[in-house]
Amino acid sequence: GSDDSDSGTSSGSSGSAATSTPAPKSIKVGLVTDIGGLNDRSFNQLANQGLERAKSELGVETRVLVSKSNADYVPNLSTLAQQKYDLVIGVGFLMADAMDTVSSKFPDTKFAIIDVDATGLKSKPANVSGALFKEQEAGYLVGYMAGLYLKDNGGGTAGSVGGQKIPPVDHYIAGYQAGVKAADPDAKTVNAYSQKFDDPAPCKEIALDQISKGAKVIFQVAGGCGLGALDAAKEKSVQGIGVDADQAYLGAHIMTSALKKVDNAVYDEIKAVQGGTFKGGDNTIFDVKSGGVGIGDTNDVGAKYADQVKAIQDKIASGELTDIPNTVK
């Protein structure tokens, strides 16, 4: 019984909130990470940052549940739903099935899931919002910068190190390679997957290998493993490109980073729920235009090309530049 009255009041108030935006309503938001954990220096961490921001700026009550294994997904999601959290956010495409199950069980709770197409969920739940990113656009931007750099330095190779061959990774890499080619049609690209997201050693070996074969830029798309790739760049004094979060803090060898603003996505979803604009059964696309993906801080080398890249960014935002590939051949 209490379920109904709860959701009744919340939907009622959100209706009015849509028009008048009074003082933010205090809602409860739960976040369930995937097994990467909170310090993955990647999207779990970013999601948590978004949550923290919402907590301080929007005054929402938050709780984070870290999944230690896939056995935790369903209980974690459903525990938060049962405890009447207004919004439960799941992170990562591996949680898709669990999200599907739990959201169908709790039709009155709102769910959001990062990196999953909500319309593709098996039971087509109407209370799940998917947050999808056009990683290829970010990849294109950093690739473009890499290509410009190569061109200025007598051409050469742009390397990339992926974790596993999965969609978000390939989006980045495909965009990156296209960007490189666009800036310097003579440049070559190499790519390899480490098959791991946690152990930095294989990524570093791959990067070293690419560097030994002439790569002058290394783009990592492999989470914690990729830090090894960037370390190789540092060691061999070539340019490194970070991923997801802004990894400029790693040192002056980081030319720039391809950003995937999971924090913004989380923040936006929370804000939408609070503001009553939450829309289930559909996806929110985060792209250059919406500021959901982009390019991070640049080092001295990258700064030279910032304007040119900015121009490209504008072109993408304005829809002038489309059909950036999202699959790696």
């Binding site: 310090n39 896939n70 056995a71 369903v74 591996l94 061959k165 969609p167």
Partner: protein
Amino acid sequence: MSDVDDELPPDATVAARLATYVRAGGVVTPLITLLVAFIVGGLVVLITGHDPIATYKAIFNGTGLNWFFPWVTGADRALAAVNLQQTLIVTTPLILTGLAVAFAFRCGLFNIGGQGQYIVGSVFAVWVGSSFEGMPSLLHILFAIVAGMLGGAFWAGIAGLLKALTGTNEVITTIMLNWIAIWTGNYLFSLGGPLQNSNPTQKDVPVSNDVVAGARLPVFWGDPDLQGLHVGLFIAIAALLVFWVLLNRTTLGFEVRAVGFNPDAAEASGISVARNYIVVMAICGAFAGLAGTLDVLGWQFRIATNDIQASQLGFFGIAVALLGRNTALGTFFSALLFGGLITGTSVRNLDPTVFEPALATNLTYMIQGLVVLLVSTDVLVLYLWRLRRRKRPAVAEVSV
């Protein structure tokens, strides 16, 4: 009773060693072992600035074992029920991976390959479980279980075969087989891999097909949709029984124990040691394979490549078996204990203000390590034993 330590010949097999400890300490030893492990763990918690009692209490409540307390009522009780279901879901494979280690120990073998066998078993199970749609449910489940057990048996059998034929140390081979299983499994479900799902909307996801509804194990407690407790628990308990009967009431078990205690004597009485190594490893693999099968059919329903790299249940089996002293009952209780530790330290149950869950996970490892370390000697108990004997003057002096 003479001092257990002096009874042991220096080249005693692991099986003989543990048998001696069981004789010496009975049920008291594992309990003291546990107590010490938890005290040491608590000290670590204390030293690093947390409250050990509150931590342990929170962990305990997280296991759902408080469900058994009649004074826990209302929402707490509902939560406890859910937690207990999760604990038992984890206990189920732990029992089986524990048996996979225990059975090998009884034959004098150290099976570190439970993880690989678990993976191979689950791969077979998910393949059978997600194919053959429309098969009668019971038949389908049985089919999947048999397939999973055979898969595990095959994988462990390799180590048994190599040990039997070339004398290669099973510790090394099972470790290698673990890694090979992990990577082969990853390959099978990776993009373009032979067992990657055929669902068009998921063609970009490195995950298997779903186990069809008919091949899923019925849930008997909790919400079937929200990972309630499936009947696999009973299958695991039945496996404990099988383990006991096999070991103590069959000629095969007789051989296994004889080989475990003294392979030379066994061989001299006509028992084929090599054959036993192969058979025993295969049975161990079947247990571990069943663990993977029950997980797949009971709640997991699919395997993603990341699941394979992240799973640790096979390794936990070592601690389960050792703490349980390789006995059926002991294995059950230690599986329950570790199942409880795993769920109890999960973030869902452990309030981060009491104790940071990331720390708690590592605390579990530490406690596990301490338990195994203490079991490896039962040093404490032996020590107390000797102390007591020293205090008590020699009762009667016997001349040679």
